[in-house]
């Protein structure tokens, strides 16, 4: 007669484990279905702080060196390349510009491959982190132009996640942030509020933070 190994105990253990896993899965599912998210309440407000501009696109963040960008744009304008609302190269991380009387300078971000990825915020000595750390919360705030376009299947806009991470990082360093959604049809633009009421860049304060009930 064959000597069979008894599988009863093994079956018992496996069945119990699976049962517990299923119970966990069901509890998890019920919990997830009831999860409600309250939006943070970031209210724009007037400030004496000056903005430091950033563009967030394709999970990357570019710190805009406005001095360099404006001087490059001025050079292009004096050479006639920027006339007639023509789009011209700004020689700054693949940015292109357009000068418009109403909108000031519009910035078209076509090639973002040279921009730092937002994951670099986790690296201690990354340029992006250094740039964000250089913002003085007593004098400045960060203003983001965030690309809202999403690829098929993507749940967030191409700059949303990068912006959220940067905002979180800056909030921890007491730096205020403001933002606006942009896209290729309505690109980032910097202008003087003396020309148009739309040329206002305000920070937001986050009241209370997000809570999940």
């Amino acid at each position: 007669m064959k000597n069979l190994i008894s599988l009863d105990s093994l079956t018992d253990i496996v069945s119990n484990s699976v049962g517990i896993l299923i119970i966990f899965a069901v509890i998890n599912l019920i919990h997830d279905n009831n999860k409600t998210y309250q939006l943070e309440i970031p209210l724009e407000h007037a400030t004496d702080l000056s903005p430091v501009f950033f563009i967030a696109k394709d999970d990357r963040i570019l710190a805009m060196d406005t001095d360099k960008l404006f001087s490059n744009a001025a050079l292009q304008a004096t050479s006639g390349a920027a006339g007639g609302k023509r789009i011209f190269a700004l020689d700054f991380f693949g940015l292109f510009g357009q000068i418009d009387e109403d909108k000031g300078i519009s910035f078209y971000a076509r090639d973002t491959s040279q921009w730092p990825e937002f994951h670099e915020l986790e690296k201690r000595n990354s340029d992006l982190r250094k740039k964000l750390n250089s913002i003085d919360p007593a004098k400045q705030f960060a203003y983001f132009f965030v690309y809202d376009n999403s690829e098929d299947g993507a749940t967030a806009g191409s700059g949303f996640e990068a912006f959220r991470k940067a905002r979180e990082y800056l909030k921890a360093h007491y730096v205020k942030t403001g933002w606006q959604p942009v896209n290729s049809e309505a690109p980032a633009n910097i202008c003087d509020s003396a020309y148009s009421s739309r040329c206002i860049y305000l920070p937001s304060y986050l009241g209370g933070g997000s809570t999940a009930k």
């Binding site: 896993l21 409600t36 309440i41 965030v146 806009g157 937001s204």
Partner: protein
Amino acid sequence: MSISRAARIKRYSLEHKLETSLFPFLSIFLCVMGVLSFINVLSSFSAPQKIELTAQLEQGYKVAYQIFSLPDGIISLPPVKHLKKLQEAVDDADKETIADIMRRRQSAIRRLKKHSGAIMNAAIEPDIDEILEVLHDIRSLNEMALKANYLYEEFLLFGIYPNGGQAYQKIRDIMSFTQDARSISVGLEPLDSNWTLNLKKTDSEAQ
């Protein structure tokens, strides 16, 4: 000596005892478990968590008039929860104005509730007159609350979905040329496409 029939049967059954094999059961069981675990791990990596947004949002005396900006337009979600109490605090002339605003807001919420299919498909193109009316209502309510010394302030909170920036820009354009918008606080938040709106909460609170 012949063996009895009963003894033969007994001996036969002892020799050919029915043995249950657990191998097929275990094999199928482990396969199912493996597949389930794989799906679970895969879904936790690939599908971000689905989150429901609350329809009624407030912080202290500040109450949000939420506008969700989607690629196809906007969904407006007016607050109604505290309007009855505000109505009790204001004078008779303002009571009627608040009643009118409440009626319009409740009917807007009912329209949203009646919408068949996913609520996020209920987005409509922002209409200039409607936006102006919303801004005027918010300003009126805030001024009435201030006049009655009642702690209540409505503000506009935009939830921007992916590819929803266009509708938002249109509303900001409208806001830039109306006086009503000057005194209204504005907030905006980026939302992901799998963040849905929970209207049940609005409905229960609106009663």
